[in-house]
Symmetry: C2
Subunit: 413 residues, 2 copies
Amino acid sequence: MIVEIVTTGTELLLGQIVDTNTSFLSQKLNQLGFDVLYHSTVGDNKIRMTQVFSNALHRSDIIITSGGLGPTQGDITKEVTAQLLNRPLFLDEDSVKNIKSFFVKRQVVMSENNLRQGMIPEGAIIMKNECGTAPGVILEHDNKTIIHLPGPPHELKWMFEHAVVPYLKKRFNLQGVIVSKILHTYGIGESSLEEKIKDFIISQSNPTIALLARQGEVIIRLTAKGNTVVEAKDLIAGLEKQLRQQIADYIWGLDNDTLEANIGKILTQKQLTIALAESCTGGLITSRITDISGSSDYLVGSIVCYTNKIKTDFIGIPPQIIIDHGAVSHQTASLLATNIRQKFTANIGMGITGIAGPNGATPTKPVGTVFIAVDGPLGIQCKKYTFNGQRTDIKYRISQAALHMLRQYTLSL
Amino acid sequence: MIVEIVTTGTELLLGQIVDTNTSFLSQKLNQLGFDVLYHSTVGDNKIRMTQVFSNALHRSDIIITSGGLGPTQGDITKEVTAQLLNRPLFLDEDSVKNIKSFFVKRQVVMSENNLRQGMIPEGAIIMKNECGTAPGVILEHDNKTIIHLPGPPHELKWMFEHAVVPYLKKRFNLQGVIVSKILHTYGIGESSLEEKIKDFIISQSNPTIALLARQGEVIIRLTAKGNTVVEAKDLIAGLEKQLRQQIADYIWGLDNDTLEANIGKILTQKQLTIALAESCTGGLITSRITDISGSSDYLVGSIVCYTNKIKTDFIGIPPQIIIDHGAVSHQTASLLATNIRQKFTANIGMGITGIAGPNGATPTKPVGTVFIAVDGPLGIQCKKYTFNGQRTDIKYRISQAALHMLRQYTLSL
């Protein structure tokens, strides 16, 4: 079954927005086993949209569109399809009711234009929209299928998962299920990781293995097809076990895990508290820790010691240490960790000092140099890193490194 | 002149990456005065790519492609075009030289495959790639133009700006220039802003006005066409002046301004220093301030006072204040600002305390409630806000509000 995704909207052709619907739909449809072979985009123009739809019907079996279901005169997707397939539009009472109740719920006055959204091509299957006002429609025609989805990404996603997937499964009698699992890694580049597991990547067809580089980490996506969820999960578990024999040290999380949530779980479970003295990261690490609901249970607090004065007067770094070794040094980082731990009465203290750039480098300490220290029941650990990139990239990479050090430290407690 | 953008690559059809090249090219081409009427995507398959290129040649005058110029067997863009236009490929010595020197510069061993990138269709204009190894090509054929650009966004952007724009300007004798200017606003929603300036939006065709909602702000893009840069800039200046008569209070910055950079300039210019006591934002505001190089000149430091203990023991909030009014209160926020200012000897102190959610709400203080206080030479100011959204959205919106308060306060100093 060949699928074509057609996004509509002049704002796409003007480049005013980046289209994320297409990659979302492509990923999901591939996982269901469909071949997505074409993407097309066309503006809100009746003649050109008709040509693009007609071309898509010619070369593909299933056409999924996004956009053009809104209340304005520029929203013409259903109109174009209605004419192309000779299926006159009618006003669907149920859809009108849903649209009206959507406005009532939000205590907003409905414009009469919104009723246009209730116009449906004859013989269509109607998909309710619980995130917006535009219903979606499915039309079957000469062994081809046209599916119209709304443009706003959250509406499209909701409708795809709740209405399109069940429809496709039933209609095309999709046997089996697709299950994916993500392994998050840290501390290894994409090509080195690929090298370590390339035999698996080459030999495996079910599950498949895909490597994807993200900011500050590489993720591995395992995708298995099975007759049941249990069977697909078993396939993934088998491969994951083999992969872990090669790369266990680099894997820190699964699926939607974030590093800050992962650390939050460890700290909560071990009933540990933490305090930080951040210099070059300026509060970023603490901010990431507090992105997690419940972090007040383990984060005591932090000091952003951006100036030497704060380091000496409020975190008790002896001025002589800064004179002898520099504010960016093993000694300063370690004392920051030890002193903030003691001062804020936390189980674990962290100290971070470095050069985020682009200024501040010295011959021996280039931009990106950072010292990260952790102090706690196991004693003190301090590591030096050098990161590349723009100032904000460097800050983010330091925060990744610091959170990983924290994770390793707390795991061994 | 009708333009079609064709992105190639199976990774796009699999949904593994979001295509940002298309929106970049669309925006730039529209600014040059071209009509971009179609976007298409096709995989690394010779038959289908030939059909898509052929269809594009039929309906469009200029076809710009991205991707498929790499060294692997899957990179077939030039091959497809060579066959389609009957322009045999030859190995271009200059391109080979450039490719080889690229590897030498980076001290990386070149694989023989990379020489494939030097294969060029007969009669093509070759575009050097200073960001990567793949040269781009331009082919003119029966009044149509095909332009092949590399897929990696930074290579594509560089080549577009440095080679494609000059080519298009000369070839199509593009008269005049396009100049854009962005006005950043805060404190007003997209629809209210549109309402206030709708007469201009309707009546203007040069410059044009576009409103775009971004996270926590709305931007206004003015785009003018003129015979010279000066003429286009004058047109924009005239409209900007008129707009400012309606909405001056909401405009805080221009073009690539960020709020944190904008504040940095004010603080530097007025030789002011700042210290913060952040509770619910967990260091985010300080982190944003330190995203700016040179912020060590005005940021003394901050305390992330996530627990009441830190608020009382280290920032000197009397426990009775917290008992009587709560940690999230006008009183606590104001004292945080006053005390951190004094403690860290800064000209300006800020205190931020609120409920980022999803837990911690009370009947009178729902999730999203926040008190933001600024203390300085003008005395203390404290405002209450209520924001919606997820925890991280709320944190970000609080940071926007706080930075805007800080900006207003320092501007009046």
